[in-house]
Amino acid sequence: MTTATQTAATGNHLSTGAALLTLMKLRTFIALFAVIIFFSIFAPNFLSTANMILMSKHATQNAFLAIGMTFVIITGGIDLSVGSIVGLCGMIAGGLIMYGVALPLGYTVYFNIVEVAIIVMVVGILIGAINGLLITRLNVAPFIATLGTLYVARGMALLYSDGQTLPNLTGREDLGNQGFSYLGSGSILGLPVSVWILIVVALGAAYFARFVPLGRHIFAVGGNERASRMSGIRVNRVKMFVYMFSGFCAAIVGLIISSELMASHPATGTNLELNAIAAAVLGGTSMSGGRGTIGGTIIGAFVIGILSDGLVMMGVSSFWQMVIKGLVIIVAVVVDQAQRRLQQRVTLMQMAKAG
């Protein structure tokens, strides 16, 4: 009799544990719906199409960086330099449109917008490659390496124009470099171009993580670097890739922000790396590496974007906004840790009972 009730009790215990686990796993979705429902009640015009489009544009910027950040964090690293890369890439885009590239003998070469975009993306990838080389070849801890490039890239962005904003990036008809505004202000089928690009990049990243060996290896490296190396995975190559991809994502954001404003400001993107990390963590990416999804990260980026825009619409002061954002991130990580512990306990108890 006693044993029967006991097993029933432990069985109950296990199933509540399991239910709680499921709930915790869905927390990002729950958070997204919670913020949407909350603001549609308390913020006027929150659900209007115009507002939705505006918010998605804001969230998009974080989402790009967060996708790159997710891969980096899954390998067990961190990329603090993305905000600065955004700034530097924006300045380079502006500079190329306004001034072109001065060659010796007094010639100046101007590029059309597509070429500008490609050059800027290559610059982003190169800065990522520098991060990667520091981390893989020179064994610098990711936090320190990217902290270094954070300062260097920001400093270079400021040096580029001596701290000045490059205004009016409309281009000139005779130089054939007009149309930069399309990236930030254009729309296709009612959706902003930047959102379309995000969809492409996000789908590409999700495909990559599942269907391409290098993408799969990202998870293995972050889960257990030694075991990955023993299994023949070229760990350094994987790490190089994630930092380069993160740089690429940052370059895209630099282009989009400059295009939206039609101006490049060297301080653009300050602190964006923190938003990206927050979005990834909110989306269930584990800071200790090995776990994370692109889908979760996108949702995380939208939760953060909607949260800040919604609070603005409600008229909450920006000081309070910071406090609230910080609390949301902390709660997310606490829940993440609790989930892991619970999961472990449930499995171990099951095994101990089974003997």
């Binding site: 799969r216 998870f219 889960g223 030694r226 075991a227 023949g232 995975i233 090995g290 171990l348 095994m351």
Partner: protein, 512 residues
């Protein structure tokens, strides 16, 4: 000595589950004051786990700990120290970057108030303890500069210096010379006289018989025997350790091995402290042959395997697969060239704990499922995974579950499956039966036999005599980095192998 009830510590119904394995199942243990309480059992029987629980390193999943008639909680090593429990771990736990004295007094430094640590007093005190052990170590040398045997003595000195009521020694003699063992035993006798309860774990049965008062035998996480040492003999120990049912080794299949597929020539790996971890090892394996490498801890077996897999940059020597010399020192290429390694430490080097069973199986061989050069064909991958699960009879309810949800034996099979999916010609297995239960062991052994029957060349290392005798076609013995002998199993005797495994240390002492 009569069986007394002078029990200082008692474990009641202790169960400890790790992810993947239940290491202890409702085990009871009584430790007596002023006696040497011996604990024996095979690798993976749960001895170390039990000691880690007593030392507060691990907490039991279920069960109670009683000390002096009171129930206590040991939540951290600091708790254990407070209760007067000291431990000499099997793995050395010294801070290599600190001096011997600093190691001995770590966490209880001798201080002079605000003027900080009194290094001079620490060195003097430490030297006292070391002299008692006749260690011949100066307390101000860096721990990492000492050879491994002396490091072990430092560990022992630290534990002795703690002035504990319970002192646990987990294989304290595994790296000691015979003379050093004698000194250690004198120290133990001295501690015993002072009423310290000693817990002594060792594989060396003759040692146990010499020093032990009470003996407890563990098998597969359960206590299978408890007696006073004077009432029993080594046969009793072996019977309790192995059980009446002899180990289920795979039946020998009589098939003639084919031509040589793998050969090393003069593999050398220098040790940081001088000498060689792997000392001019030349060895060959034939198709369909199982070559067992026997050796004690630190014999250089793992290091040899690591050299073969290109893990060390500083090794010298040549490696041939099917007559072609392998170039480069790069694990990825070695795998592509037909080598695969099952690492000794499954958790650290074998598995990616955060991934599913399926992802672990296919992670090393994704290149085989590609379409258009980059796209993984999930169907192809899935069918290969299912085939591996079937072939190795891996008990996986759902291949998408976390790999940590499986038992240790099945985890080991996943690591083997991962290696096999790369299509190796030569399989290196470093202690393939470590940390898995008896049933799974038999399964792994059967798998090894079958693979050899299918023409794979297998090189495996073990420190289990019975295992190497039963499984190998030929037996190689390594000692202190050197390959001492290679014999056909039919000509091998246990005595021969045991004496060969001590060979390297003998010559070293002669030179020294």
């Amino acid at each position: 000595m009569p069986e007394t009830d002078d029990v200082i510590l008692e474990l009641k119904d202790i169960t400890k589950a790790y992810s993947g394995i239940v290491a202890l199942k409702k085990a009871d243990l009584k430790l007596r004051r002023g006696a040497v309480n011996v604990l024996v059992g095979e690798n993976g029987a749960g001895k170390s786990t039990m000691m880690r629980i007593i030392a507060g390193v691990e907490r039991p999943t279920l069960g109670e700990i009683w000390m002096d008639g009171e129930r206590i909680q040991l939540n951290s090593p600091a708790d254990a120290v407070r209760h007067g429990i000291g431990i000499v771990f099997q793995e050395l736990n010294l801070f290599g970057n600190l001096s011997v004295a600093e190691n001995i007094f770590a966490t209880r430094e001798i201080t002079r108030g605000l003027r900080g640590i009194d290094h001079k007093a620490q060195v003097e005190k430490a030297n006292e303890f070391l002299n008692r052990l006749e260690a011949g170590i100066s307390a101000d040398t860096l721990a990492e500069d000492l050879p491994i045997g002396q490091q072990q003595l430092v560990e022992i000195a630290r534990a002795v210096s703690l002035d504990t009521r319970i002192l646990i020694m987990d294989e304290p003699t595994s790296a000691l010379s015979a003379a050093e063992v004698d000194v250690l035993f004198r120290v133990i006798a001295d501690l015993k006289a002072r009423g310290v309860a000693i817990v002594y774990i060792s594989h060396r049965l003759e040692e146990l018989m010499r020093i032990g008062d009470y003996i407890t035998v563990l098998k597969d996480g359960q206590i299978t025997g408890h007696a006073m040492v004077k009432d029993i003999d080594t046969r009793w120990i072996v019977r309790s350790m192995i059980g009446s049912d002899a180990k289920d080794f795979a039946k020998q299949v009589e098939h003639e091995p084919g031509e040589e597929v793998f050969r090393t020539e003069n593999i050398c790996l220098p040790r940081a402290q001088g000498g060689y971890a792997v000392d001019h090892v030349s060895i060959g394996v034939r198709k369909g042959e199982i070559l067992g490498i026997y050796g004690l801890m630190g014999a250089g077996r793992s290091e040899l395997f690591e050299c073969i897999m290109g893990r060390h940059e500083h090794y010298t020597g040549k490696i041939f697969v099917e007559g072609d010399e392998l170039k480069g020192r790069d694990t990825t290429r070695r795998i592509r060239e037909g080598l695969a390694l099952i690492p000794e430490d499954r958790q650290r080097e074998g598995l990616v704990q955060s991934m599913s069973i399926a992802d672990n199986l296919s992670m090393a061989s994704l290149g085989q499922f590609l379409k258009a050069g980059f796209h993984i064909d999930l169907k192809l991958e899935k069918s290969a995974i299912m085939e591996a699960i079937r072939n190795l009879s891996i008990k996986a309810k759902n291949p998408d579950f976390d790999v940590t949800s499986m038992s240790g034996g099945n985890q080991q099979k996943v690591v083997i499956g991962k290696a096999l999916m790369t299509g190796p010609k030569v399989l290196l297995m470093d202690e393939p039966s470590r940390g898995i239960d008896v049933g799974a062991k038999a399964d792994v052994f059967r798998t090894m036999r079958r693979l050899a029957g299918e023409g794979l060349a297998i090189l495996f290392s073990t420190s289990d005599l019975e295992e190497v005798m039963a499984l190998s076609d030929r037996i190689a013995v390594m000692s202190n980095g050197r390959l001492v002998t290679v014999v056909d199993r039919r000509d091998a005797t246990e005595e021969m192998i045991v004496s060969a495994s001590a060979e390297g240390h003998k010559t070293k002492r002669m030179h020294a």
